[in-house]
């Protein structure tokens, strides 16, 4: 029960990666109140979840809060996970991402960001946490797949996903005609999806 499950690297077939079913099973057990299963789920996903939260909100203390809120939500709503709609990993990270974006947007509402964010945040640079992941084979595959995107697609996707910016903000930041950033984001995701062979379309 308390052994650490192998981390399932992102899915590589439409059925989900080896290990993905295990995460789904851990979610199922968690929904019944199995705290050991939840701990195993945490151990198998928390480096991605925390890394994502940290990348979006940037402040480690807030990243911890976001991660904590997200895992509580995951625990509470585990029974709502529907394996027919996607992998457990994607379900978990969708919740984390939403919490992180909510956090930066509400912080922003409190102290409105202005155009200076353009310079501060422009190209999403690879920070030290990203370097730590360099060794991961899967990370290399994803980076490789991202190279198949056009420059604009990749920038738009990264600003929206890791920057937490809305597509209209992204359009402004990249000097794109209004309304085109959403298309770049979608096209970028489709290319990534198809290159990695995830998510039965």
């Amino acid at each position: 029960m308390d052994q650490i499950r192998p981390v399932s690297p992102g899915a590589s077939s439409s059925e989900g990666a080896p290990g993905a079913p295990a995460l789904g099973e851990l979610l199922r057990l968690s929904s019944r109140g199995d705290q050991g299963a939840f701990a195993a789920l945490y151990d198998a996903t928390s480096r991605r979840a925390y890394g994502l939260a940290l990348r979006v909100v940037r402040d480690p203390a807030q990243a911890e809060e976001v991660t904590q809120e997200a895992y509580l939500d995951i625990w509470r709503t585990a029974s709502r996970f529907d394996p027919d709609r996607g992998s457990a990993l994607s379900w978990v990270l969708t919740i984390v991402h939403r919490k992180a974006v909510d956090r930066v947007r509400s912080a922003e509402a409190a102290s409105r960001r202005d155009v200076t964010y353009h310079q501060e945040n422009q190209p999403v640079e690879h920070d030290s946490t990203a370097e730590a992941a360099e060794a991961s084979l899967e990370a290399r595959r994803v980076r490789g797949a991202l190279q198949n995107l056009t420059e604009v697609q990749r920038e738009a996707l990264e600003l929206a996903y890791f920057g937490g910016y809305s597509h209209t903000e992204v359009a402004t930041m990249l000097d794109l005609p209004l309304g085109t950033a959403k298309t770049r984001i979608r096209d970028g995701l489709i290319r990534l999806r198809d290159a990695m062979g995830v998510g039965a379309a």
Partner: protein, 248 residues
């Protein structure tokens, strides 16, 4: 504008829409299976991105999360509503009385499954928590909050009600689309007055979470019906969902 609403699927999948667009797209999603499938698949793709930016969380975070989880009850799965056969034909006159029987049935289901009416443990966020507590979170965190979830024909509706705040949070997900000219309407079953409409309680089929003010402290239950656009003063159709709010 509707012509290129599909193009929002990517931005929606990665939370890059503002609130208004999000609501609009969710309304669209309720009716477009193609977009739902696309959003699901794009979320799978997006979930690969964190692979490139993993970081070791502090060990203390794990301890805090596991300790906190021990005090929080997981939500029940969505169970099919027992035997409320929603006969779609409406009969304006038989409004109030008819609610009582199904409510009792609902209460029985709740009692058997232990599915609803359970006071939530307040979320014990640590001191330095997030900047904003939303109105919905306030209700969720109320010590007397009662949570009830009901399946509605493939979708679900969850009510979190607090008598002390006289507020309820209504969250809907995947409600069946309505013909034009119809809305979902939220009701409270007042102990004295019977079914009273909840102000602001008109909803479309789009997934939404709203916080409503109502005389919860005086209500024994709540329900959702389908009503003509603009809502009704008295229910004119059988409820699609009933929620027992009595202290279970």
């Amino acid at each position: 504008m509707t012509s290129d609403i599909h193009a929002l699927s990517g931005a929606y999948a990665i939370d890059a829409l503002d609130d208004i667009e999000r609501a609009r797209f969710e309304r669209h999603l309720a009716e477009c299976g193609e977009c739902r499938a696309e959003v699901d698949s794009l979320r799978e793709a997006a979930a690969l991105l964190p692979e490139t930016t993993t970081a070791e969380p502090p060990a203390a975070l794990r301890d805090r999360i596991l300790a906190e989880v021990a005090t929080v009850r997981p939500l029940p799965p969505i169970v099919p509503a027992a035997d409320t056969e929603p006969s779609a034909e409406s009969g304006g006159s038989r409004g109030r009385r008819r609610w009582l029987a199904p409510l009792v049935a609902a209460a029985a289901v709740v009692a058997v499954l232990g599915a609803g009416g359970v006071a939530w443990h307040p979320w014990t966020d640590e001191s330095g928590q997030g900047p904003v507590t939303s109105a919905a979170d306030r209700v969720r965190n109320a010590p007397d909050a009662v949570t009830v979830t009901r399946k509605v024909d493939g979708g679900e509706a969850t009510i979190i009600a607090s008598k002390s705040l006289n507020q309820l949070v209504v969250s809907t997900e995947g409600l069946p689309p309505l013909p034009t000219g119809k809305v979902y309407e939220m009701w409270l079953n007042d102990a004295d007055k019977g079914m009273v409409p909840v102000p602001g309680g008109l909803m479309t089929a789009a997934d939404s979470t709203v916080v409503l003010d109502g005389n919860v402290s005086h209500a024994t239950g709540a329900g959702i019906t389908v009503e003509p656009a603009g809502g009704s003063k008295v229910p004119t159709s059988d409820p699609v969902a009933l929620f027992n709010l009595e202290n279970a």
